[in-house]
Amino acid sequence: MMYPRLMSFCMKYVQDKFIADEIVGEALLYLWERKRDLNHIDNIKSYLYTIVRNKAFKHLKAAEKVIYLESDRHDYFSDSDNENIIEEEVQTILLSALETLPIKCRRVFELSCLKGLKYKEIAEDMNISVNTVKSQRARAIELLKIQLKDQPILLAYLTFLIKNQIF
């Protein structure tokens, strides 16, 4: 579940899908190895992001693409790290929710909520009535809300799995 987010996040640093895949895999393995310590880790998500970020830096350092000015360790995120995390958290979750929507419904949502187009513009663009746009938009938001409500539960489920060493 965290995999797409971490992959996308990692790609921001290493720009190589294969390497990113490797790093994320290692990070998940690292997490698994420390499953006994998980009780002390408040936020598994942050923990994973940190691991991935650090591993990515390590890789870049090895590839001599990044030169550190101060220290090797990054115990806190830089502004760009934070931005990247926020981006992943919004986009990946939103996209996974959008996946579940019917195509028309999704298109309306994208044009209206994300692009900020007017109902009329959307109706013209999609060759549908304004009322249909309105109803589709409302339906999309309703469906997405339901989808996104499940997210924390899924995360809890992941934590549960890891802690119980099933994963």
Partner: protein, 403 residues
């Protein structure tokens, strides 16, 4: 570094909610507060940009979460195995070091013993089980090695014709019954041998190791008399004439029957075990005793010379003739005495207490000596070792394994 007022995840949540127009007043304030900070507005726009999202979606849809999951699982499995191996290696390493010390100690301590063991093993291989071999001493004093003259006619003239066929020495009276003097033959079976003789009246005698029997070539007179030292099993042909087995301490008188007589001079007991028919035991010190089948009469030779009778499993006392040792609740001392007779060894006990340990079992006599000794040592805390003593005889040393 800008001081962080809100967590990344809260911001992410707020952005998502704002897209869905689901923000409450408080959340709205928080988001606006965050957006006021430098660069955040740009970030927000970048995130919710449809083109960016589409690019991201293309990237994500190309990912195979299942594959990734499997990969991680595989890595976990490998890691587990590695860890096990590492643990094992460490354990083995520690064990090896420990072993090294222990072996060094034991090696040093057991060096001489090991040397002895090697000799012991070699010696044990040399010890062969007994087999059919005997010496026949004719009346005229001529000694015939029956082992060397298998399947051979020994004597054609005289009162009896003597044939040696398939380990059986057979006497058959000749037509010439008035041959004058009765000629006595002696059959001697050395240590490690068994031999069978069929007397002129058809009586079969199995002669055990280290035993000898003296008998006439043909029976004349009112009694059939043979003299026995050691152990023999008799299958006497029925006849009006009494059959008498004379031994050092007692006589066994019978009328057609099967029985076993054990009269070794080095045994504490002289015993007669009756399988079939009826026998009478008579000795100087005791009144005559008549045995019924299944009974064993044993005379204590050393000491008070009393004669006792008990009921036994006759197989116990007669199985030797079929090429098997049979022991039932037999003290180790007796077992090894029998074994020593068969294999031609001496036995030495390092510990007196183990002499009385009792064993039950059947062992084929043609097996090597180690077979019997292994059975004993593997089922008890007894070990054995073989060596050659000064007189050139094999010696089995029996000792107790210390706790």
């Amino acid at each position: 570094m800008i001081e962080k007022k809100y967590s990344n995840y809260l911001i992410a949540k707020l952005i998502t909610k704002s897209v869905l127009e689901d923000l409450n007043t408080e959340e709205n304030t928080q988001l606006n507060d965050w957006l006021k900070q430098k660069g955040n507005k740009e970030l927000y726009n970048r995130i919710v940009n449809v083109e960016n999202l589409q690019t991201k979606q293309e990237f994500l849809s190309a990912l195979n979460s299942q594959d990734a999951y499997n990969n991680v699982q595989l890595k976990i499995a490998l890691k587990k195995r590695k860890r096990m191996r590492r643990l094992l290696q460490r354990t083995i390493g520690a064990a090896a070091v420990l072993c090294l010390f222990v072996t060094a100690g034991i090696k040093w301590h057991n060096y001489i013993q090991t040397q002895q063991q090697i000799i012991s093993q070699q010696t044990l291989k040399e010890i062969k089980p007994g087999y059919e071999k005997a010496t026949l001493i004719l009346a005229n004093g001529v000694e015939i090695n029956l082992e060397a003259s298998i399947n051979k006619q020994i004597q054609l003239s005289g009162a009896a014709e003597i044939n040696n066929l398939n380990n059986l020495l057979k006497y058959r009276p000749t037509a010439d019954t008035n041959a004058g003097e009765i000629a006595y033959n002696t059959l001697y079976v050395p240590t490690g041998g068994i031999y069978t003789v069929e007397l002129s009246d058809g009586t079969k005698v199995w002669l055990n190791s280290n035993s000898s029997i003296k008998y006439p070539e043909v029976f004349t007179g009112s009694q059939r008399v043979v003299e026995l030292t050691g152990e023999a099993y008799f299958d006497v042909t029925k006849s009006d004439k009494q059959f008498v087995v004379k031994t050092e301490h007692q006589d066994v008188t019978v009328l057609g029957t099967e029985f076993n007589v054990s009269a070794y001079t080095d045994d504490v007991y002289f015993s007669t075990t009756l399988v079939e028919g009826k026998v009478k035991l008579s000795s100087n010190q005791n009144t005559d005793v008549i045995l019924t089948p299944g009974e064993r009469g044993y005379l204590q030779v050393i000491g008070n010379n009393t004669l006792k009778v008990n009921t036994v499993n006759t197989r116990n006392y007669t199985l030797w003739k079929d090429g098997r040792f049979y022991f039932e609740q037999e003290p180790l001392e007796n077992i090894l005495k029998k074994m020593a007779r068969w294999y031609g060894t001496d036995v030495k006990f390092e510990d007196e207490s183990i002499k009385k340990t009792r064993f039950t079992g059947v062992v084929s006599k043609d097996k090597p000596i180690t077979y019997l000794l292994d059975i004993i040592s593997k089922t008890s805390r007894i070990s054995y070792m073989a060596s050659k003593n000064n007189s050139g005889r094999y010696e089995i040393t029996i000792s107790k394994i210390k706790q």
